[in-house]
């Protein structure tokens, strides 16, 4: 990879931002599993594996599965954030595989947030 200049930095930023805000047509949904040490200890890895398997089984190409650091609310780990293209992100807490399944079926696939497990919607910091 070539070393980058300040202009390249800006280009990467533009390109990446477009991907991160789920621009229309490219990606429909993004699932972020919060995987800090406490999340992993609470079982985030199992949740991650589950989503990866499901996305594979359903052959979905328009869902991004990614991980991120601790979301801060350690008492309610494992946590995930599900964001659909035209909706505010929703944070889910205290997950297990069964809950993950419902979230995948009802929110990721069918577009309806699972109120039973949701903690909040919206983003802590301004979306880019």
């Amino acid at each position: 990879m070539p070393k980058i200049s300040i202009q390249d930095l800006k280009k990467i930023k533009e390109k990446e931002r477009a991907r991160m805000v789920l621009r229309e047509g490219e990606y429909r949904a993004k699932i972020t599993v919060h995987m800090g040490t406490c999340g992993i200890a609470a079982g985030a890895r199992e949740i991650m594996t589950y989503f990866r398997d499901r996305i594979g089984q359903e052959n979905l190409t328009d869902v991004i599965l990614t991980n991120s650091g601790c979301a801060g609310l350690c008492a309610k780990e494992p946590m995930i954030t599900v964001e659909l293209a035209d909706a505010a992100p929703v944070k889910y807490v205290l997950l297990d595989k069964e809950k993950a399944q419902r979230i995948f079926d009802e929110h990721v696939l069918a577009g309806k947030p699972v109120e039973d497990y949701a903690l909040a919607r919206g983003s802590e910091t301004r979306a880019t």
Binding site: K13, G36, D105, A120, R121
Partner: protein, 598 residues
């Protein structure tokens, strides 16, 4: 519902009155026709079901085994469903149920106490970026502060901006970061070093871990900027060995940054060289002290040395060295991008910006919170932390790790900043806040912290090495029922000696937990010594282990949980404890919901 063994897939079409009225039979016919056309009638079964209860959105089709829920399906959608879903396994997005906008039942994040009151600067990227993807960090303005510094600013201007921000060290000391950098820049003795202190040792503090794991590039960027400002080309990150994930992610971040030329030689083509190496610690609390940490990097026992010379003059390998904490470095890029004045507009007179606190112990929302300096302890514990679980009462908050102090009930209105915490006998430390409820014995807590400091004392100077041990033994005596009149006065005197005659930060504050608990909870010490009673029911020798008959609700939980069968209980009788068998393990006390055992 599972698919029948003979069919690969089932399409359930709602035949309730509502859906029939909106045309589900036509949909069924169209789907059947489409399937037959593609010779799939033996693979896919069509089932008419009863009402789904969602009549407003009919006709409804649910595709199993996946349970995909299509609504407002029209006959002309049939080819699409068969082609996309049945054949290719892709979901037909247009037909998925979309939430009407108004009815959001899930609350907004800003309406939730835990999130709504936070202000994120250090944790600006938390939960938003993939820590192992440098592009995502760049997308959120990552490395643009470094770019700005290298392109537009002289090192002096960088230092000026940091000074203007009023940023103070977040590792505990609270020394102004800008002044530290300025001091280090002064010396013309090369090579210089900049070190990130990631030896987060305070029990109950994990904000540095979270930043290193969740946003490692922000630390690297802050370090590179500090390197530019003081004239260093080499940085070290000293990380606790207990944080393997942090080490892994930092290493990945360093590798990626090197590939992009954001570390290494000629960064961003601006002629500045800077590289970073991780140095994993080996488990010694005292290595959080700056001079001890530098000795540890040199491969020696991590024992603090006498200052001066200050590290800025002669630190690592006797060269000018700047050392900041993880959180401090993570504050640097936003300060550079938004300006020192912006940062200084947040917080209090003497403490600018935000502080990350690790909220733990007896509090509902255990977690990491970032709030402006000057937030009250009450807001922190009750509004953000969600209060105390199990309807218990707040007793005290311990702030600042093992060398901090306890802030009791009645003082929770204190505004948290560097000076006010010292005023009430605690300190900022690294920002660990451990909440304690009425089930916590303050004497036992003081003993615990003293025991911690005894274990972690490096042994170099006597007040800390010997004095703490004496203190610990005295506290043990009190907790085990051998306390005598005069013990408390002795502890106060010894504590002041230890604090005033030790030479490093650990020793100088090691007696704080004892002194601050005596200051606010003298009555508990007195109860232990005079009445031989521990009100919080923690110290086993000072508990009677008798059932208070009025309070006993005869539930038998104590009986069921007792590991030594020492509790005599039958239905509808008050429990009784057989003191012959009782091992004083306190299982009954923790299980009793009615505080009926004392």
């Amino acid at each position: 519902m599972c698919a029948s063994p003979y069919y690969r897939m089932q399409l359930m079409i709602c035949a309730g009155t509502g859906c029939m009225a909106s045309g589900s039979l036509e949909v069924k016919a169209a789907l059947q026709k489409e399937l037959t056309k593609r010779n799939l009638q033996d693979d896919v079964q069509i089932i008419m079901t009863g009402c789904n209860g969602f009549c407003a959105m009919g006709p409804l089709v649910v595709a199993y085994p996946d349970g995909i829920f299509y609504n407002q399906v029209k006959p002309e959608h049939a080819p699409l469903i068969v082609e996309e879903h049945v054949l290719k396994g892709r979901i037909v997005k247009e037909l998925l149920f979309k939430e009407p906008v108004a009815k959001d039942q899930v609350p907004l994040i800003k309406d939730i106490g835990f999130f709504g009151r936070q202000r994120l600067i250090v944790l600006r990227n938390r939960g938003l970026i993939d820590a192992e993807n440098i592009d995502e960090y760049i997308a959120r303005d990552g490395y643009s502060a470094l770019g700005k510094v290298l392109e537009e600013m002289t090192p002096e201007e960088v230092i000026e901006e940091v000074k203007k921000s009023g940023l103070r060290g977040r590792g505990g000391g609270g020394f102004p970061t800008g002044l530290k950098w300025e001091e280090c820049r002064k010396y013309n003795n090369f090579p210089k070093y900049t070190i990130c202190n990631g030896d987060e040792g305070d029990p109950g503090a994990f904000m540095d871990r979270s930043v290193m794991e969740g946003d490692p590039h922000s630390v690297l960027e802050g370090m590179a900027i500090s390197g530019y400002a003081i004239g260093a080309h080499k940085g070290y990150i000293y990380v606790r060995a207990e944080y393997p994930l942090a080490i892994k992610r930092l290493q990945k971040a360093i590798n990626d940054a090197r590939e992009y030329g954001l570390l290494g030689t000629d960064i961003l083509g601006k002629g500045f060289d800077f590289d970073i190496e991780i140095y994993p610690g080996a488990g010694a609390f005292v290595c959080g002290e700056s001079t001890a940490l530098m000795f540890s990097i040199e491969g020696k026992r991590g024992m603090p040395r006498i200052k001066p010379p200050r590290s800025a003059e002669a630190g690592l390998w006797n060269k000018p060295t700047n050392l900041n904490n993880v959180e401090t470095f993570a504050n640097i890029p936003p300060i550079i991008l938004n300006g020192g004045d912006w940062f200084a507009s947040i917080g209090t007179e003497g403490s600018k910006g935000t502080k990350v606190f690790a909220l733990t112990g007896a509090v509902n929302n255990v977690g990491l919170v970032e709030v402006p300096m000057g937030t009250t302890l009450k807001e922190l514990i009750f509004e953000i932390g969600g209060g105390i679980p199990k309807k218990r009462k707040f007793k005290a908050a311990q702030i600042g790790g093992p060398s901090g102090g306890c802030i009791p009930l009645g003082m929770e209105d204190v505004e948290i900043d560097y000076e006010s915490l010292i005023g009430v006998g605690a300190m900022m430390g690294s920002g660990g806040v451990v909440v304690m409820d009425e089930m916590t014995c303050m004497v036992d807590t003081a003993r615990f912290f003293t025991g911690f400091c005894v274990d972690e004392s490096c042994g170099k100077c006597i007040p800390c090495r010997e004095g703490l041990k004496v203190m610990y033994d005295k506290l043990t005596d009190i907790c085990e029922g051998r306390g005598q009149e005069g013990d408390v006065e002795f502890l106060i005197e010894l504590g002041h000696h230890i604090n005033s005659t030790s030479h490093c930060g650990l020793g100088k504050s090691a007696a704080n937990p004892v002194l601050s608990t005596i200051r606010y909870f003298r009555h508990e010490y007195d109860a232990h010594i005079r009445d031989k009673h521990c009100d919080a029911l923690v110290c086993p020798n000072l508990i009677d282990f008798v059932v208070i008959e009025d309070k006993c609700k005869m539930c038998g939980l104590c009986h069921k949980n007792c590991p030594s069968n020492a509790i005599i209980w039958e239905k509808k009788t008050v429990a009784r404890i057989d003191l012959e068998k009782c091992t004083k393990c306190r299982t009954c006390i923790t299980n009793c919901r009615f505080h009926a055992i004392r």
